[in-house]
């Protein structure tokens, strides 16, 4: 069945058209034409403007055009899809559609392409006006083509994420908040754009570098940072290709999750092998991007690729990113006690070994091992000098992953619906409070007690004395993990006992 015959798509199209698209199209056209008229005014009388050339003016006006296009298509599209799906779930229409013989993939495609039709129309108008701006501004057509490909692929990527958010979130607004948070977390990576994966997953680097097609020297800091080819384990790669490849790979897992959740909403969002695969891909790509900084000889510089960079913080930031990524994956893969109880009752599995294999704790160990292997790539040729740093970082990752996964499951079992609040409380105590206390008592050593600190501090080129202290802290964190494990085990035993009692 092609998309034009997809009932979900057709209905979404009907609903979009019935709600009216003309006003939205006219708004997009007015914005685009205003920008175009600005360029035409410059070309007619350049003296009134501060641009050095038609190309400069064209870049500025085209930049604004695609800015609006991104806002409409990526942000607006995400919001639209997640809202439509969440509302249809709430109304019972999603269930009605699921009961039809339509394939789950047809349902996903129908919402993915059908819900944001208004946004597609608006962006098509903006893209067409953008093309005129590019031609009038005597800019290369590759700029238009490249940016449009990247915007479209990003819209599809975020569209799939929105389908997932709509299928999972109780309130669609929460998905939007998540997106805003993601954009804010993106900002630190702008200091070293070529080295951070997020600038390629969201194709910011690709788009900006297309605008910098004619930079002729490294004198301009901004141009230098945002132009040239990034390297993946030393191999130069086109940023557009890297963005498309990353979006395709991650999008593939989003697609699988969306289809799985459509087939059966009680299925997990992420299978364990998918969690491992997505973590491996993203982590390997991230370490590949910064490989050229040390060429496997961390912490000694092998080759200073970027003279402007504060290299010392690079691996620490990547360490933070690794923790954040693992936290998202572990939270998504962590089983709901209720589903485990059902499984126990259905299959009659009543031992803790089965619980452990289905729990996110074993996944936490697997992710830590993967992170350790990938991190090794940064110091593989200097391991004799860096083994302490390496083990502190790996130990920190392992303890953090373990503590987080144990904490999430413990709180879900113990506090049920109030679990999120208690997880946030304990994460605050373990991760943030030491920094606050360090500030209050003007003692940096207290800040290092944070669950986040050992790896970050160690990877930021610490001295030997510091390393011993950090090793001690990692050991202390491991103690917290052990205590949590005991509490976690007790809670699962109680759940198993309850399941047995009900079954009998």
């Amino acid at each position: 069945m092609n998309i034009a015959e997809n009932p979900i798509f057709l209905t979404q199209k009907r609903l979009t058209h019935r709600a009216g698209v003309l006003a939205a199209i006219l708004i997009a056209a007015l914005i685009g034409l205003s920008l175009l008229s600005g360029l035409i005014a410059y070309l007619a009388d350049p003296r009134d403007f501060g641009f050095s050339s038609p190309q400069d003016a064209g870049k500025m006006f085209y930049g604004w055009t695609i800015g609006v296009e991104i806002l409409v298509l990526v942000i607006g599209g995400f919001s639209r899809i997640s809202n439509v799906l969440a509302n249809e779930r709430k109304a019972g229409l999603w269930d009605s559609n699921r009961l039809t013989p339509l394939q789950p993939s047809q349902l996903v495609v129908g919402y993915w392409f059908g819900a944001p039709l208004r946004e597609f129309y608006m962006s098509a108008i903006l893209a067409a006006i953008g093309l005129v701006i590019v031609v009038l501004g005597r800019l290369p057509l590759m700029l238009w083509l490249g940016t449009q490909i990247l915007i479209f692929s990003t819209a599809l990527f975020f569209g799939l994420l929105a389908v997932l958010a709509g299928l999972v979130a109780q309130r669609p607004q929460s998905a939007f908040v998540f997106l805003i948070l993601f954009f804010f977390l993106q900002f630190p990576s702008f200091t070293m754009p070529k080295f951070f994966l997020t600038n390629f997953l969201l194709p910011i680097y690709g788009i900006v570098s297309l605008f910098n097609y004619n930079h002729d020297s490294g004198a301009d800091f901004a141009n230098y940072e945002w132009s040239g080819l990034p390297q993946l384990f030393g191999l130069p790669i086109y940023p557009i290709l890297l963005s498309l490849a990353l979006q395709f790979l991650v999008g593939f897992f989003f697609w699988r999750a969306a289809v799985r959740k459509t087939t059966n909403p009680f299925q997990p969002l992420m299978l364990r092998w998918e969690a491992v695969a997505i973590f491996s891909i993203l982590l390997a790509a991230q370490h590949g991007l910064i490989w050229g900084q040390w060429n496997g000889q961390f912490p000694e510089p092998a080759k200073a690729i970027n003279r402007y960079n504060d290299r010392d913080s690079l691996l620490s930031i990547v360490h933070c990113g690794t923790i954040l990524l693992a936290v998202i994956i572990l939270a998504a893969a962590s089983p709901q006690p209720e589903s485990v109880r059902m499984k126990v009752m259905r299959l009659g599995v009543k031992n803790l070994a089965a619980i452990f294999s289905g729990s996110a704790v074993s996944l936490a160990v697997a992710l830590a091992v993967l992170a350790a292997v990938v991190l090794l790539s940064q110091c593989v040729f200097s391991f004799a000098n860096s083994w302490e740093i390496y083990f502190i970082a790996v130990g920190n990752l392992l303890t953090f992953f373990l503590v987080f996964s144990l904490l999430v499951e413990f709180c879900r079992l113990r506090f049920r619906r109030r679990a999120l609040g208690f997880v946030a409380l304990w994460l605050f105590v373990l991760c943030v409070l030491p920094f606050i206390l360090a500030g209050v008592f003007s003692n940096a050593a207290i800040g290092k007690l944070s669950l986040l600190s050992p790896g970050i501090v160690a990877l930021a080129n610490s001295n030997d004395e510091n390393l011993n202290y950090l090793l001690g802290i990692v050991a202390g964190h491991f103690g917290i993990a052990v205590l949590l494990f005991l509490g976690w085990q007790r809670q699962w035993k109680q759940l198993l006992a309850r399941a047995s009692a009900i079954q009998n």
Partner: protein
Amino acid sequence: MPAPPLEIEHLRVDFPEVVAVNDLSLTVGAGDVCGLIGPNGAGKTTTMRAVSGLQECTRGLVRVGGHELAHEPEELKKRLGFMPDFCPTYDQLTASEFLDHFARAYDVPDRSRRIEQCLELTWLSEKRDALCEELSRGMKQRLVLAKTLLPDPQVLLLDEPASGLDPLGRIELRKILLQLRDAGKAVLISSHILTELSGFCNKAAIMERGKLVMSGTIAELGQKMGCRQMSVKWRNTDDRALQILKEAGVKNLKTIAQGATFDFDGNADALDGLLKILVVEGVRVTEWRGTGDDLEQIFLQSGAKELM
């Protein structure tokens, strides 16, 4: 021998704090309209959702036309129509567009004609171009029923279908259900308003706290209950008729105008025998029926009422 349209075996559904459906087994054959009766919270809706595949079962089997839900959900979807207890409609679509959406989704042949048929069947032909948001709750209910009937399913699950209907709508719903029964469909219909179900259910299943208290044909259930309350009316003299009833050993015999009410302990055959005696003895019987509705009597005697 073909498999029954709907078979449920040892179905169990667990919720966090409660067993919503516990070891429920039920068969609904072709031409059966089975009333799923129970107080609020008995597990009727959960049973329907579990049978349709919307609710995960802890244990048990659901087969539709011999196809098992767990292994052949796609086959099941083609053969089963589920009408939920609320009316999910696309507010900004017209009634015919709404049906068109589902007709396409079910790949219904000769779509336009079938949509018209279903609109006619549910008396919505005049509303075909009205937006769903403009329809009353009862009309939406009928529209969702039309949507359920679109693919001509073998099995129909109707969850409280008459809850939003006016008296006329309920009468018409009854007619539709009788048509479906005559067409050989298997219908499982839930309600806690027993008068809704009387008159067209030939089977009933009574649920209480997730468990099936009893099930079977109305006659079987009546027999299981042992005692049924009857009402009889006649045209000629009371005396002979009352004497016959007393001799038959009926209980709680009370005279009413040109008739009597009484409780009868015997089975259906014995009840038929009593009627025959009355007629043979020259009593001109003008009415012979259970007082209230049979389903109501059965339900009241089942013990499930305690929760209502």
